[in-house]
């Protein structure tokens, strides 16, 4: 319980520092502050998707309905963070590059992730039979997940990026972040991750209780 208050404190401190310390990237200026939020959100989105694929694989092996519930919940959370990442990214794009959407490779990747999640839930709503729905959406989640490495790691390096500043930031992350920036950024990353797993755990418990109530056993 106590750690939840610590989490609240940590998040407040991070938000405070993200606005009061000097801007992380001098060339872009104040707008670069958004990377304290935008990158953790995109990172969580990928983690959520990985979790969904993991539970999907688990479901296909053991056919335990709880795993299907967890896969769907991970996908829901992932969709939320994907939306957040897209919105914060568009805000950044508007301020620095002048337009909300430019089809820069990384923007395209996050767009495709949104579509994959959307398709996943469209499929879920199209099948009535529970077991069939679980099996088919599990296969789709795994299959779609396989394209993710292509999107995130391969495509941005192959397709000519119209906006070099995108890769400049990525290089800057590792090499030229000042210790202050680095500490705020990594704390933000950790806090976001903890929040995600906390929410996911709550959803998992709800699913467990619901299943118990329905069947009388687990």
């Amino acid at each position: 319980m106590w750690w939840k208050y610590l989490l609240f404190l940590a998040m407040s401190v991070i938000i405070w520092f993200s606005f009061t310390t000097p801007a992380p990237q001098q060339q872009i200026g104040e707008a670069s502050r958004i990377f304290y939020y935008h990158i953790p959100q995109a990172w969580i989105c990928v983690i959520a998707f990985t979790l969904s694929a993991y539970y999907s694989i688990k479901y296909l092996r053991k056919r335990n309905a709880l795993d299907d519930d967890c896969a769907a919940d991970a996908a829901r959370l992932g969709l939320l963070f994907c939306l957040l990442a897209t919105i914060t990214g568009s805000i950044f794009a508007k301020v620095t590059w002048g337009a909300f959407w430019n089809w820069d490779p990384r923007q395209t990747s996050i767009f495709i992730l949104l579509l994959i999640y959307g398709a996943y839930f469209a499929l879920r709503s199209a099948i009535e039979d529970e077991e069939r729905r679980a099996a088919l959406t599990a296969v789709y989640a795994i299959f779609a997940f396989i394209t993710v490495p292509f999107l995130i790691f391969v495509l941005p390096r192959i397709v000519p990026s119209l906006h070099p500043s995108d890769s400049v930031i990525n290089k800057n992350l590792k090499f030229t972040m000042s210790p202050q920036v680095r500490s705020i950024f990594f704390s933000s990353l950790i806090v976001f991750t903890v929040i995600f797993f906390w929410i996911f755990n709550i959803l998992k418990k709800i699913n467990l209780i619901r299943r118990k109530l329905e069947t009388g056993t687990i």
Partner: protein, 227 residues
């Protein structure tokens, strides 16, 4: 039915030949694909009139035609089984791996047939530069492999869903988008006259994509197919 010791190749071939025969009887899939492709091409050409297009737009247009023709015609390889209620028999008599490979190859044949007709027509109607024709065909061939690799499994998934029509495009599009981006980019470069060396990175991407997708579909298919 052959005896159980028949190899995977001959079983897949049996499934493929069955689908081919069915297709030649009714020509439903062929009609859908051809009519879509030709209609789209005609509309584009009519809208163009006398003006010519830049390689970028030509590349994008070509793959739009191919992609949407594929969307209209590739799902029916599984949907037809469900609707004719022959799916259960197929499940009982055939090895799932053979079913997948047979239907994959069937989709591939459909697309090749369509490409053979649509590609020359495309070049004629839009007056596209034919300098790098061989290179263009290489990209086309790999693109077709990619298309059927990704869509055959999705077709199997939606065949069992209740609302089949739009769901196929909705599910297939996100998976196909990285491939489509690479295809339109490389087609644009080829139509602009560059050689295959310029697009080698994109080609590697497409080939890797095809291999990964076929392998993943092959491994996942039996979870979709078996009840």
């Amino acid at each position: 039915m052959g005896d159980n010791s028949a190899g995977l190749v001959s079983k897949s071939l049996a499934v493929y030949v069955k689908d081919l025969r069915l297709e030649l009887r009714s020509r439903y899939g062929l009609n859908a694909i051809f009519m879509f492709g030709i209609t789209t091409l005609a509309v584009v050409s009519f809208a163009l009139g006398q003006s010519s297009l830049s390689p970028k737009i030509l590349g994008a247009l070509f793959w739009i035609i191919i992609f949407f023709s594929a969307m209209s015609g590739l799902a029916q390889v599984f949907v037809r089984e469900e609707e004719a209620q022959t799916a259960l028999t197929l499940r009982l008599t055939a090895d799932p791996d053979a079913v997948f490979l047979g239907k994959l190859f069937f989709n591939f044949s459909l697309l090749i047939l369509m490409a053979v007709v649509i590609t020359p027509l495309f070049f004629i109607f839009t007056d596209a530069p034919t300098a790098g024709a061989i290179n263009f065909l290489v990209i086309l061939f790999i693109g077709i492999i990619d298309l059927c690799a990704a869509t055959t499994l999705v077709a199997a998934i939606i065949a069992k869903a209740s609302v089949k029509g739009a769901l196929f495009a909705v599910l297939a599009f996100p998976i196909l988008l990285p491939m489509l981006i690479a295809l339109t980019l490389s087609s644009e470069k080829i139509l602009a006259g560059e050689g295959l060396g310029e697009v080698s990175k994109l080609l590697q991407f497409l080939i890797a994509y095809a291999i990964v997708m076929i392998t993943a579909s092959f491994l996942l298919f039996k979870y979709v197919w078996q009840e």
